[in-house]
Structure formats: C-alpha cells, structure tokens
C-alpha cells in the first residue's frame, strides 16, 4: 500500500539495522514514548534487529494505560445512571476499574456504546434527546482536537444532553517527570509522531536542552522506528542533544495550528493523575469554564474515589521504563490479558499486553 508498504520493507529495515550496528560503540537506553510505537516494535520484532547495546524501554504513552482507576469508576457510575448513554472508544471498555469494567457494566444493563469518533456521540445526543449522552474523552494531544470539536459542536447546536468526561493527558510533562525521577535511566527519547503532528516540535527543545537528552520525532512503521533509533543513537554517540524530526511527512515544526487553536478554545492545561505515575503537574487538559455546562465531572454527582491500583501490579515501574514487562513477577502468571492486574496488560497498546502477545514464547501460549 502506498505510504505503508514502503515503510515495512525488509531490505530497508535491514539497512537501517546495519547502520545502527555500525554507529553503536557503547550501551544506550532509549525510550519510545508512545504505546503505538511499542506495539509496532514488538509486532515487527524491531528490537530483535538491534545490537545488544541498544535497549529500548517503553514509555507511558498509552492513554488507556494511564487513565486513573477513579476515572474509570466515574465512567462506570455514569453508564449505570438511568437514562444515560456512555460513549467511549472501544479500547477503554475492557480496562478494569476498582470493581468492574465498562463491558461488564454493559452486560449488566448499562448503556455503553463504542464509537469511532466523538462526533458520533454528538449525533447520538441529537437523535436521542431524551437521553443524557456522555463521551469519555481520553487520550493524548492526538485525540484532543476531535474531542474539543465535539464539545464545541454540541455547544453550537445548543445540545444540553451532551457532555464529556475528560481525562486527557499531555506528553511533554510526562517526559519531564520521567527524566526528573531519581531512578531514571532513559538517555534518549523517540517522541511520539502523532502527538507532534498536532502539537509541533517546539515543546521538546527546552526538554532536550534542560535534560541534555536527544529527542527524535518518530513514526510508527518499521522504517520510521529504525530511522528514529539510528538518529537517536547517532546523537548519543556524538554527545549531541537536539530535537530532530525525521517524521517530516507527518510533522511540521508548528504542528496543526487549527487543531491547536481549537484545543485552546475548549481546553485548558490542568494537573492530572496518571495511573501508575501519580499526579503530574500541568500534565492534563480540562474543559474551560466557558464549557462547564458540558463537563460531565461537574454535571454528575460522582463519588470521591479512593480506589488504588492493585498492589501486586508493577505497572508504575513498567510505565516509567524501569521494569521490562516480562521481568515482572506477575507477568503471564497471575496477570494475563484475560485476567489483567493492571491496564498495561489490557490495552492493545499497553507494553505488557504487547509482550504477552508477541513475545510469550516460553509461556506455552496456547490457551486451550
């Protein structure tokens, strides 16, 4: 396929892998920030093409994985409210809250609907005016513009039965938190191509400078990832720490200015809890006061949640790149995709699920 096949070409991949081997003289630890990149690395086996000196660790860039348990409990509470429809991207439905997940809530009678676009939820609100329709707005900067558009569209149409339960997160503060943490071992970052397609590259320069850490804006196909790794290793070997953008076919330095304007109109930066990581200042987005009438967290009487992650789950260390999923004592034993202890084992983009699905070579994965 055009724009796909050429980036999945075996010869191209091998040439990049050879180039990485040629420039590498010492061990380096590189984090890919985005869950989509993690998934791609494991699906295509990119890490197996790398020299042993290069270690990839997997970042917290899976929106499903970092949505705090309390937010999921809130979504379930809304779904269970009579006359309410909770709309969500499909990924979120299986993520466990403190007691259950949205799929089980639906089986028990809650009106939970998977949608492909937040605008679909607005359409449901229009066509079912007797229902209160809530969209579970999760995701990084990639999904924020569409979610902002949905809220603004509902406001322009004067729909009073639509609202959004917002749990948006931002990438740069998470990178800052990881690089500031005492146990950090990440020396270079593959920044998330899709996030930068929206936000541009300007947020990463100060981080690269302050932490003396190279940041390479990287795509999701094998050739993109290998090119990103090559450029990152080259910088590390040269002692450079710059922002480089080999993913220029999708990312402009200024980003998508119309999308950014839309996000700014509807959302403001706020502190946000991350599952496994705790509260990170300025790391989330919340609806602005002007859109308070569309903020489900204000419209619904939601219980204060004190829910905590499962104490046996090491997701926090995994999400910060301190623990390889398969080195977790629960991996593949008490924690499997059928019976997950934590979100990274649930989402298709979660690091633990990706390892389980693609690397469980010694687990006799046949389940029957």
């Amino acid at each position: 396929m055009k724009y796909l096949d050429e980036y999945r070409d075996g010869d191209v991949a091998r040439r990049y892998a050879d180039a990485i081997r040629n420039v590498t003289t010492q061990p380096w630890t590189i984090m890919e920030i985005c869950g989509g990149q993690t998934h791609s690395i494991l699906r295509f086996g990119i890490d197996e093409l790398l020299p042993p000196e290069i270690q990839l660790v997997h970042g917290p860039g899976c929106p499903v994985c970092v949505t705090p348990i309390g937010q999921i409990d809130h979504a379930i509470a809304i779904a269970r409210t009579a006359g309410c429809v909770l709309c969500s991207f499909g990924d979120m439905l299986r993520v466990p809250g403190s007691e259950t997940d949205l799929l089980h809530a639906r089986a028990e009678g809650a009106d939970v609907r998977a949608v492909y676009s937040p605008l679909d939820a607005v359409k449901i609100a229009e066509s079912e005016p007797e229902k209160r329709v809530v969209f579970f707005a999760v995701g990084f900067e990639t999904t924020a513009p569409a979610n902002a558009l949905a809220v603004r569209t509902a406001a322009m149409k004067g729909l009073r039965n639509f609202s959004a339960l917002v749990a948006h997160v931002r990438v740069p503060p998470a990178i800052e938190a990881i690089l500031s943490s005492p146990g950090n071992r990440v020396q270079g970052f593959l920044a998330a191509g899709h996030v930068c397609a929206i936000m541009g590259t300007s947020e990463y320069g100060p981080l690269a400078e302050r932490f003396r850490t190279p940041m390479v804006i990287t795509g999701f196909e094998p050739a993109d990832l290998l090119q990103g790794i090559l450029m990152c290793v080259q910088q590390l070997e040269d002692g450079r720490y710059e922002v480089e953008n080999p993913y220029a076919r999708a990312v402009r330095p200024e980003g998508n200015t119309r999308a950014i304007e839309l996000m700014d109109e509807v959302f403001e930066v706020s502190d946000r809890d991350w599952r496994g990581l705790g509260t990170i200042p300025q790391s989330g987005l919340a609806l602005r006061e002007a859109y308070a009438g569309y903020d489900a967290s204000k419209l619904f009487d939601l219980p204060e949640t004190t829910a905590r992650d499962n104490a046996d789950c090491h997701a926090a260390e995994v999400l910060q790149g301190r623990l390889e999923p398969c080195d977790c004592p629960q991996f593949g034993k008490r924690c499997t995709p059928e019976n997950p202890l934590g979100a990274p084992m649930v989402s298709t983009e979660g690091a633990c699920a990706a390892y389980y699905r693609y690397r469980a070579k010694d687990l006799t994965p046949l389940l029957r």
Binding site: G10, G45, Y116, T348
Partner: protein, 345 residues
C-alpha cells in the same frame, strides 16, 4: 357504539406480523408469497414435517450454525447468502459433498417483507450456485424488541468423500499449509456497514461457497489432512486452534498472507490486525509437502480460490503458531484474549 365489522386481513402485508409465525391463513400467506415461490423444490413442496434423503451407505457430515450478523445486509451479501455459504463451507471442511441444508428463520415483528424477500432471494442464488437444496425450513415471528430484525439458524448434511479423516489430528510434521485467498474482507465489510464508515468503493465481503476446490482436491487424489474455513477470529485464530487440537507447531510467512489494499487501509485506520479479521469464503488446507504444487494448481483453477498460496508449514516441537514477519523477524502469533476493539489513536 360497538364496532361490529369484521377485521379485514391486509392482503399483502408490508411488514412481518406476529400472526405470520402462527399456524393460520396469515402465516400461509407469508409462506406462499415469499418462501415457496423462491425456494420451492420437490422436498419443500411436500409440506411435510421432515425431509427424507436417499443415501448410499457411507459417512455423513452434519453441521449446524446460527447467523445473527448485524446489519443483516452488507456489501457483498446478506444474512441469507451468509447462512448458505457458512453451512456449505462447514460441510466441505469435513471433506463432504453438501447434499442439503435446513433453515429456521426467527423474524422480529415489523421486519419489512420486501427485505425478507431480498434475503430469501439471496438464499436461492447461493443454494443454486452451490448445487444444494433447501430440504426443510421454518419461520417464527417474535415480538418487536425480542430480536435484531432477523436471525437464521442453519443446518446442513453432506456425504463424506474423503477417504481419510480430515481433522487437526491428521496433520503431520512437514505438511504444507495452503491459504485459498486474501484475508479480512468479510469482517471489514460488516464493520464498515455496521458503523456507517463510508468507504468508496465499498469493500465487498468475500462470502462464498468453497466446497468446489475442496471436492476437486479430493477427487484429484490429494491427501488432504485438515481443512478449516477462516471465519471468526481470522487466520491467526484458526491456526492456533489447529495447532492446539493437532498437537503441532505451525509456522507461516506473513508476506504470503494477502490482504487487499483497501482492507489493509480500513484495518489500519481502526487499529485492527487483518490476521484476526473474519473471512467467509477462505480456507486453509494441510497437505503433504510433496503435493503442494498439485494442490495449489487445483485450488487456483476455481475462481473462489484463484489466489491460493503456500502460507507455511507444520513443524514439530511446541504447540504454537509462529510467523516470519514482514521485516524478517519471527514471532508468536497468539490467540487474542477477546474481540478486537478499535483503538483510541
């Protein structure tokens, strides 16, 4: 004032009513106006409680399946053609020549009669194409809200012509694994129809009867060890099932698994892996390695399997499926823990 006039039955109902599933004249009218004119054959025309079949002493294959696809109409077919194809294909996977099928319709009150006629017409085309008869049929109507438009339960019976048992347990180390065509079309066709995703031109389901290439292989004397149609869960799931049931290791080459460009694009967009997306007109065949070329020749001579390829082979060792990926790295191809859910970003 009392109304003493008799209720006059509507001559030609536009919508299926509860009474259509009963035993009275109204029910007869639906059978006479929709089912009998289209599906009528000597067996059905007897209007008896069961069909009878003349069989030579031998082995019979018997299968049953329920069809609840939503929406009932999708690009490339509908629930009626799907019920016929699914049943015929299940028989073929036992190395059987399909002889006849039975169909039970569960219809929701209010279902448009014109739509029902469209479904029955598709059944007629599919059974004629497959050269099978509808031996028995039944219709029930349930109250509005008790079903999703229409469900069809189908059973089929066939005569086994394979001399060897076609089972995962018959698969041998070294066997070649043949794949009969491109992947993922039925699943993407239904998903795009269900969710109103506008794909131009639409992706047609691959729904089709696949018994002819199977019977041709058997008639050509090819030692078919196992067959499986690639339905729910896609190629990856059926390979895992056979590996587990047959106690074998399976290794395939991803670059041989053809996925059409438009299907790949929709899957990419939705975050689905085509290796796990359903087909309804594709199968895999396990044959001795030295019969690969002959088997492929037979398969490719039929339109429904003209893109057949050698996908991989059977290995000893651990019971699992491994795959050489697009960039040359091997990995496990595991079962999914649940249905694929569209991802967030």
């Amino acid at each position: 004032m009392m109304n003493l006039s008799c209720p006059v039955p509507i001559a030609a109902a536009e919508y299926v009513q509860l009474a259509h599933g009963g035993a009275g004249l109204v029910a007869q009218r639906l059978l006479d106006s929709v089912f009998r004119p289209i599906l009528g054959n000597p067996q059905l025309d007897l209007r008896h409680d069961s069909a009878t079949l003349q069989v030579d002493a031998g082995r019979l294959a018997y299968t049953t399946d329920a069809f609840v696809v939503h929406p009932w109409r999708f690009p490339g077919g509908n629930i009626g053609s799907l019920a016929v194809h699914g049943t015929v294909n299940d028989l073929a996977m036992s190395g059987a020549r399909p002889m006849g099928i039975s169909l039970a319709f569960i219809i929701e009150e209010g279902f448009p009669v014109a739509d029902l006629r469209e479904i029955v017409a598709a059944i007629k085309v599919a059974v004629d194409e497959a050269s099978v008869q509808v031996l028995a049929a039944d219709t029930k109507v349930v109250e509005r809200g008790k079903a999703d438009g229409i469900y069809i339960s189908a059973s089929g019976i066939g005569e086994v012509i394979s001399p060897l048992p076609i089972l995962p347990g018959s698969v041998r180390e070294g066997d070649a694994i043949l794949l009969s065509g491109d992947l993922g079309r039925h699943g993407t066709a239904v998903m795009t129809a269900r969710d109103g995703l506008e794909v131009e031109p639409p992706i047609d389901s691959d729904s089709a009867s696949i018994h002819r290439p199977v019977l041709a292989m058997l008639e050509a004397g090819i030692e078919v060890h196992c067959l499986r149609d690639i339905t729910r869960g896609g190629l990856a799931t059926v390979l895992n099932e056979i590996a587990a049931d047959g106690g074998i290791g399976v290794h395939i080459d991803e670059s041989k698994a053809l996925v059409r460009e438009d299907v790949a694009a929709v899957c990419e967009l939705l975050g689905l892996d085509p290796l796990y997306v359903a087909c309804e007109g594709r199968f895999i065949a396990f044959v001795p390695a030295d019969q690969t070329e002959r088997a492929l020749g037979v398969m490719r001579a039929h339109e429904v399997s003209c893109d057949s390829v050698l996908l991989g082979n059977v290995r000893g060792g651990a019971q699992r499926v491994t795959m050489r990926g697009r960039i040359g790295v091997d990995r496990v191809l595991d079962l999914l823990s649940g249905d694929q859910l569209p991802r967030i970003c």
